[in-house]
Amino acid sequence: MLVPLSWLKEYLEINLSPEELAEKLLLSGTKVEDIHRHKDEVVFDLEITPNRPDELSVIGLVREIGALMGQTFCYPPSLTVAGYPVSFKKPLTVSVKDPTLCPRYAIVILDNVEVKPSPDWLAKRLEYSGMRPLNNIVDITNYLMIELGQPMHAFDYDQIAGHQMIIRASKKGEQITTLDGVKRELPPDSIVIQDRERIIDLAGLMGGQNSEISQKTKTVLLHSPIYDPIRIRRTSKALGLRTEASARFEKLLDLEAFVPAARRGMDMIQELAGGEVASDFIEEILLSPQEHLSLELTLEKVEHVLGLKISEEHVSRILNSLGFSVHPLPLANQTTLSVTPPSWRRDVEIAEDLTEEVGRIYGYNNFPLTLPSGPVPTHEDAFRPDWERKVRTVLEGVGVTEVYSHTLTSKENLEKIGLNPKNALKVNNPMSSDYEFLRSSLLPGLIQALSLNQRYFEEISLFELGRVFLPGEKAQLPPQPSKLTAVFTDKNFYQVKGIVKVLLNKLKIKEVSFKPHEEEIFSPNHAAKIQKNGQLLGSLGPLKPEILKKFDLEKEVWSFELDFETLTSLANEEIRYQPLPKYPAVEEDLALIIDREVAVENIVNSAKSVGGPLIAWISPFDIYEDPRLGEGKKSVAIRLKYQSADHTLTDNEVKEIRQKIVKELERRYQAVLRS
């Protein structure tokens, strides 16, 4: 909201610089976004929170500033209007079909007005307040809306057929052409005003073109209503139409300002457009007047909520300065105040609201800085290891850099890696097609990052730990598992598997197997699924060349994906110390020629099972294919470590085990021992 400083000063002596005033306002909860300096005016640009519609007015701000400066503001005499003579009355009937639509209104008719441009001082104030001056009548309603916070509307009385004002809810399909010339189809249950024949006002948002004030207008009907805020808001949202009036009507307006506003309007019209009053001043309260609620506030409550020692006198002084009336309750066994908020503070409903008033005027920066004194919780979460941190630390240590990519992505990006957008969730109201779908995989983001970085870097290793989103049962939250996905250039299968192994080792996940695996995104015959006891942890493989091409990637890319929930469900912190061996080990290497398709893991397992407990470990270390080995053959070297916990092994013992292993490998896999 834009407010010229001179307007505020008209009602209150402010001996502060604009910056000092802005800071005072900010610290108490009224944010000054900007201060615009014009040659003859200083304009404050304020951000008013939705609970404080009273501050969407000069008077409201003056009241607030008064409290901040320790003064209590009273309505100046110019805002209270005395009686007036009515020589003749023009006919008018007003009916409100449902009192919840319009619980309060005031109406008055002014005859023989002269519609013309507003005087300069008024036009200027409107302009500085961000409103375009039109003519004196319309400008007066806008001026008073800014000054008093009460929006009003002026109709051309002669255009109101039958001189009837019927306030009712709209029906589906009804239309109105508003002042801005736009023909609008109304949602049902909007508040409209119709005359005998047609809708003349989209109440609370914008007047109808058919009854607007024009140069020819001679008789003005001035209308000062309070509407149902929820209906105003719904219509505003449905039509995508927000006006200065609707921004006020959709909030809890002062229920007592509509009468003074209309009376001020009546005065100003007579003053600036001539004319005379031509009707009774009608003021109607259709819903029983709101009880002025009084709240009980104990001093103890203030101290507990704020954590502040403050005297009763100080609390009363602060509340009084904001227009609250305060009375001590004599019979209570602790200091208790009965507090009644002013009519313009309908946001204040409970004692905690009052503690806020006390706190913000006392000044939050004057509070003592204390730390929590209550017991420290010991819920199960306090015992859970931080696996996210562990995983990130391990990957960082082996040279993989973390990236964050957008959760929202485009249809194109999903399709590029062969994901069907039909299996991905879509937002109902995207801003752009670039951010339309929820990612169902972390890969598109990672591959895009590779593509971006390949110009500047060799050997890129990236990972992301984040959620993916999958379609689920309607009416339930969709599955949104966390995944850990990584991509690598300039690495081979063995290196990428090594990184996975290090990670699994650090998470103490043992006995994980890698099995041949086919997946849409990977080249055939090269991918592996990662399992533990039949439970799938994830997969690893080289991305298909088609995918690389679509992202303009020049190098081969290996990738792995692990399901983070599965990973953490298997992870543990168990470390068991193994006693150091007392007797020396014997190590030796065996080189075997074997069919290419025989899995190295099978060779190791067979050797282990026949080798028995004296085999400390077996590790394959040199695997290669060579035409000289024979068609479809490979060479596998395995290193064997023999060790006993209770004696030094003899040559004979070692020899015996070795022979068993060789025999078994010959029998099962037709392995040939190379000399």
């Binding site: 808001r233 909520v305 806020e356 913000r360 919780p377 109902n428 990052a449």
Partner: protein
């Protein structure tokens, strides 16, 4: 016997002198002193079979031979071990570039979030996470933002269906946690949130938020301000200035925001919103507001990182540019 011993000694010492590797020394040790079949061992085993008058002199000689062989072996061994690495004499250019091991880099937002987690862990807070695709009920309604609430305007929302949305804040985690845990409660909950805003250097469709919540019977606003002040000084440095001002959130009462003074920019920068948990929110999770009080805050790790590292474009966090990421 005596002759054999002397011969053996001469031979052994000569062989020991001639070898060049520790392995060879070890082999000689076995050859002469091996427990089962060492040549000297075998000779020594024969001593008890000698005549009684020979035993004494032969015994003395045998011990002397054994000691000299052992000493020679030991001396040779230490000599060989000492001489393995030669002194480097050639000039080394120490200004030549290093060969760096490959190391990864943590994401700056991870860095900031981890640091925040550490600071709050010190104060007894545990980190928990909640769903990003969230229900309207948890994201808004249970936080007193009913469907027609004007405050919904400032949190423009992506919807997946009528009732399911991408959370606009981490505050629904307050509700989820209070529904399942009795006080005392101290949690922080970092994670992604989403706003349907036009995209620019400071607005993206998704970004990070970190919620904090404390509920017990002692909670007060001055504790909240004290904790925030402690946090700000720990994360930005002890001299950092923070100030607090009034604000409005439907689910806290009183509500505040906090700013830190950015020395380089010479102005205050808003970093968080906070307040005492509204009694109605406590009632929504079946906690009696006469018995319990709480406070909560929500801060933006993106904003914290931008201030901490002097970053001016939020988009850098999300495009995976290594020229940026390698700086952390």
């Amino acid at each position: 016997m005596e002759g054999k011993l002397k011969e053996l000694k001469t031979k052994a010492l000569k062989e020991i002198e001639s070898v060049n590797t520790p392995k060879e020394v070890e082999n000689l040790r076995i050859k002469y002193l091996g427990r089962k079949s060492g040549q000297l061992t075998l000779l020594l085993k024969k001593i008890p079979t000698l005549k009684i008058e020979e035993r004494k002199t032969v015994g003395q000689l045998a011990n002397e031979v054994k000691r000299s062989v052992e000493e020679a072996l030991g001396a040779k061994e230490s000599q060989l071990n000492q001489g393995r690495v030669e002194v480097k004499k050639a000039w080394l250019d120490v200004t030549a570039p290093a060969i760096l091991p490959s190391v990864g880099h943590p994401h700056p937002l991870t860095k900031v979030i981890e640091e925040a987690k550490d600071i709050f862990r010190y104060l007894g807070f545990t980190s928990v996470e909640g769903p990003e695709a969230e229900s309207d009920e948890y994201n808004f309604q249970k936080l007193l933002l009913h469907k027609d609430h004007p405050a919904r305007d400032v949190q423009s929302t992506y919807y997946l269906s009528e009732e399911i949305l991408l959370r606009t804040q981490t505050s629904p985690m307050q509700i989820r946690y209070m529904e399942t845990h009795r006080p005392p409660i101290r949690i922080i909950s970092p994670g992604r949130v989403y706003r349907r805003d036009a995209i620019d250097a400071t607005h993206l469709p998704g970004f990070y938020q970190m919620e904090g919540l404390l509920v017990d019977q002692q909670a007060s606003l001055s504790d909240l301000i004290g904790v925030l002040n402690f946090f700000v000084k720990r994360i930005f440095g002890e001299k950092t200035k923070m100030r607090v001002y009034g604000h409005h959130f439907p689910y806290t009462e009183p509500s505040i925001e906090a700013e830190v003074y950015h020395e380089k920019l010479g102005r205050w920068i808003e970093i968080l919103g906070a307040g005492m948990v509204h009694p109605e929110v406590l009632r929504n999770v079946n906690l009696d507001p006469d018995q319990f009080r709480g406070w909560a805050f929500g801060m933006g790790p993106d904003r914290l990182a931008m201030i901490k590292y002097g970053i001016d474009d939020m988009r850098l966090f999300y495009n995976g540019d290594l020229r940026f990421l390698k700086q952390f």
